[in-house]
Subunit: 340 residues, 2 copies
């Protein structure tokens, strides 16, 4: 089969790779209908994360079940499925508490590489959620979004306790930040402030439910959020970048007793204890337990309540993955969908 391999920062190739096979009785193999490039794939692409030799890429996927292992009981070939970027058993104590991304048997799907024609999915019963029927083609990007970027934005909004009567500020206008806006809207937030200085992203944020746009950053951005919230700060702040600047901006934009939900991978971020102490904010985040939300999100997609696939503004054949990475790196695209 064909699949994406990163050889070095900036060096992404599509190559012939061995077809994945059932290795454990709990595995499934799926034919990938659509996959995509994640903001986190840019960390190694830009050299921020080290690349140790050729690495399979991709952890987001939606596709058709091709084959299942002997112990897989809830899935059958031909079903359309979506899974999280963590394989999880969905039965351990942490999974049952809604933290499937910390499943005691978790497997990072990135190690298996979803940017390919086929994908082996461990713990298939726990990991994959099937639609009632194979969906129409136009919904595939929406379902794909549920695999990570929507689920991650949704988790951020839940972690930030977005909901009725709350003002939500979103730091970060990447796909996750934009879908956190969508999530906050669905969760009933009263006011949603998107922080963005890019016109096309501002437009999408408004389409997803943003009521206000703040273009300022850093201290000026914090001051604007305070201005918009009676001097107190937002009830809920979503951090969807993962830098020191964005984390600081998020914590300082929240009111005392407010909530910061963070899902940006916190590279070189350090949170000052005294700042955290005096802020009186509640901080929660990390790798999103997308599996917790998948059934609900796939339902909202199936009945066309939400259209998270709108974040894919570049749609390429898998063979053109290199251009897909470059476009995101150069911020010419919000998010690239790849079709194997």
């Amino acid at each position: 089969m064909r699949g994406v391999v990163m050889h070095a920062p900036g060096d992404v190739r599509v190559e012939d790779l061995p077809d994945p096979r059932i290795e454990a009785a709990t595995d499934a193999v799926i034919r990938v209908s659509a996959t995509c490039v994640c903001g986190s794939d840019l960390w190694p692409y830009r050299g921020t994360d080290k690349v140790d030799g050729p690495a399979r890429m991709g952890h987001e996927y939606a596709g058709i079940v091709e084959e299942v292992g002997a112990e897989v009981s809830t899935l059958r070939p031909g079903q359309f499925v979506v899974g999280s970027f963590w394989a999880s058993d969905n039965t351990c104590e942490l999974c049952r508490a809604g933290y499937q991304s910390a499943c005691v048997h978790r497997v990072p799907m990135g190690a298996l590489g979803s940017q390919a024609q086929y994908l082996r999915v461990p713990l298939a019963d726990g990991t994959l959620v099937a639609t009632p029927e194979v969906p129409p083609a136009d919904l595939v990007p929406d379902y794909l979004a549920a695999s990570d970027v929507l689920g991650t934005g949704w988790f951020a909004a839940v972690a930030a306790q977005a909901g009725p009567g709350r003002t939500v500020a979103v730091v970060g206008d990447g796909a996750v930040g934009l879908l956190a806006v969508l999530a906050a809207k669905q969760l009933g937030a009263e006011r949603i402030i998107a922080m963005s200085r890019h016109e096309s992203r501002q437009r999408l944020a408004r389409e997803f439910g943003a009521t206000d746009v703040v273009t300022e950053r850093g201290d000026d951005g914090i001051a604007r959020i305070k201005d918009l919230t009676g001097g107190l700060g937002a009830h809920s702040v979503i951090e969807a970048v993962g830098t020191q600047e964005s984390m600081t901006q998020a914590i300082r934009s929240a009111r005392p007793g407010g909530d910061v939900g963070f899902v940006g991978v916190t590279h070189d971020v350090s949170i000052d204890g005294m700042e955290m102490f005096w802020s009186l904010v509640r901080l929660h985040g990390g790798p999103a337990p997308v599996r917790r939300f998948l059934p609900e999100l796939m339902g909202l997609i199936g009945d066309r309540t939400i259209n998270p696939g709108r974040v894919f503004d570049l749609d390429l054949p898998l063979e053109e993955a290199a251009e897909g990475y470059a476009a995101m790196d150069e911020r010419r695209a919000i998010k690239t969908l790849l079709r194997p």
Copy 2:
């Protein structure tokens, strides 16, 4: 009147000071029945916090209303009252959300100095809670505890979501940590693990409701908590020290999706972003909004359901304040009560 003044680290004196008077129409002046030395008073005593010239000390108090300003409507002279270490209006948006320690009009009581015979309390209607009747003398230490150390331990337990079905670990065996054990018990926690290597404190922890005692610290302490929780970590961890070591121990002792409530004043603490990300814990803490809990806590004290005054193991006349500080500094006493 007589009151405590700190002149330099280790130099605590009781001196003649001007009697406080009503300054604003919303003030009250109380005759202090009992006050005490806080763990946080040891920061300047030990030179960790800078002492800029002579400073009035003390922010915990219970006493009898002596005089009220013209606008005070809910209190009258002769009532026995307790207040938090923050004066707060209890009407602003942050107070109504339960964060009176971030009240937009808050006044730190430490600046006024409760280790004295009389105390001016700003925003008296919002700050002070009166008992139905002047309580018997043996309950005064319990009420005094509600002013900070009980309320702070209680907030830590609430912030850590201590409750039914949850295992709670408490890092820190000072008065706040011990009262966090009591709070966790009252809040219905299933299992309460006190981390302490001091026999007298272990005994008090067990009396307050601890089901287990862990004497190990650092990595060994974390490993013991994991052992006791099926390898997962505690659902709730309370941090009641305020050092890098204790904060790290707290975060690492919690399971993914668990909660860390921190109330130790985080001196020179820095929380690594990646550690926070991968931990998937929820972190909440800061200066406790004691006023939120005062009515409930005073009720539990009045009907003798709880006896938080047990943390005072040294009871001295105000004139002997210097010895009260020294005993706590040298860990000869858990907490010193001072009687003006």
